[in-house]
Symmetry: C2
Subunit: 194 residues, 2 copies
DNA sequence: AATAGACTAACGACCGTTAGTTAGTCATTT
DNA sequence: AAATGACTAACTAACGGTCGTTAGTCTATT
């Protein structure tokens, strides 16, 4: 792997663990086996490295959603929804990208708040569009109970994804998969038509 | 308010917004209207201030749970559960304490990870004890569906609290209250006996 | 009532360290 | 010959923290 990609990979894991302010260029350089100033041969600044990683993470999250929806396009709504939820939840297990993404969403560096919010807003609207279309398909298939509004569904969905992403910090993968079953059983029973 | 309490209040809001590494003692001092060395008349170190705030936040979260359970002691299980969930979710709106608490739970400063984990573990076990007793009461009252295990209930409960706490970063209070209704309607339908 | 000592909480000056960044150099590759 | 990517050296700014001093306040003694 070339130096640039190595710097990105190392930056991702360090930013994920220690945050933007808690990570120094010296740490990144040492882990990459080069000296600190050499980083500037590949990135204009610490902020530029961080923002590139942020855009990557956002793009990858969208790609994950698209992949899930496409792969399960022919499956019943229940399976599509379950697969989508599970994929989103396990995004956090992509080595350090999930933690990075979560941290970036919740606590973007105050110093880069303008650029960060632009990335976040764009990502959120891209996800919203896909989610709304997906709900419509479930509704047309009669899979959702009629008294459940779009708003309620979206609220519950986001809430569960956020909650599962949070729990990846607290539990091992196996434990999280057990917990996912609990959450899914409650969620599906809550939204399905009788 | 005396200087010590003022420093705590200001530290809380700055740590919440910028994190531990992103907040400097100079910022805290300036906001409190004193100079940096004067902070050391009240706290041994930056870490000591932060850890005191962490313990306070943890204690306050437990107190909130106890208050909710006590206040609704005579109410039906559904109302008790709803009240508890709502209280936990709106904890984040306690001026900066909710954000501080969430940040502390998810991304404690790596430099203080040992002390932080001790506080977190203690808090989690205190909450678990209360939650398990609460579930038992709901089960005895026949409010929960029999096929729902304790594990599943706890997983879903934590997931929703974490999700709602996360969403407090993204939405205004009014919007969050709308979303809470959606989450609650799905959750309750998912756990209740028929 | 006046004073002496102890304590508190503020301060300016400063310390050692480290942060991100720049400039300039040099060997290797294209 | 040009570009790349590593290096050393060094910069400024800021960090957390220390020290000695001082102004004010409470208490106890005279």
């Amino acid at each position: 792997m070339n130096t640039r990609d190595r710097l990105k990979q190392i930056g991702l894991s360090l930013f994920a663990r220690h945050g933007y302010e808690g990570t120094t260029l010296a740490q990144i350089a040492t882990a990459a086996g080069i000296k600190k100033p050499s980083i500037y041969n590949h990135f204009d600044s610490k902020a530029a490295l961080f923002l590139e990683l942020s855009r990557d993470a956002d793009d990858d999250m969208i790609a994950l959603i698209d992949a899930s929806l496409a792969r399960m396009a022919q499956a019943p709504f229940e399976q599509r929804l379950r697969h989508l939820l599970q994929q989103c939840a396990t995004f956090a297990y992509r080595e350090h990208q999930g933690v990075f993404y979560k941290r970036f969403l919740l606590f973007p560096p105050q110093e880069l708040v303008t650029e960060a919010e632009a990335i976040i807003d764009q990502g959120e609207s891209r996800i919203d569009r896909r989610l709304i279309a997906f709900i419509q398909s479930g509704r047309r298939a009669g899979a959702l109970r009629a008294t459940l509004t779009d708003d309620h569904f979206i609220a519950a969905f986001y809430c569960i994804v956020d909650g599962l992403l949070s729990e990846t910090f607290m539990y091992e993968r196996q434990e999280l998969e057990r917990r996912f079953e609990g959450v899914w059983s409650v969620f599906w029973r809550g939204v399905t038509a009788d």
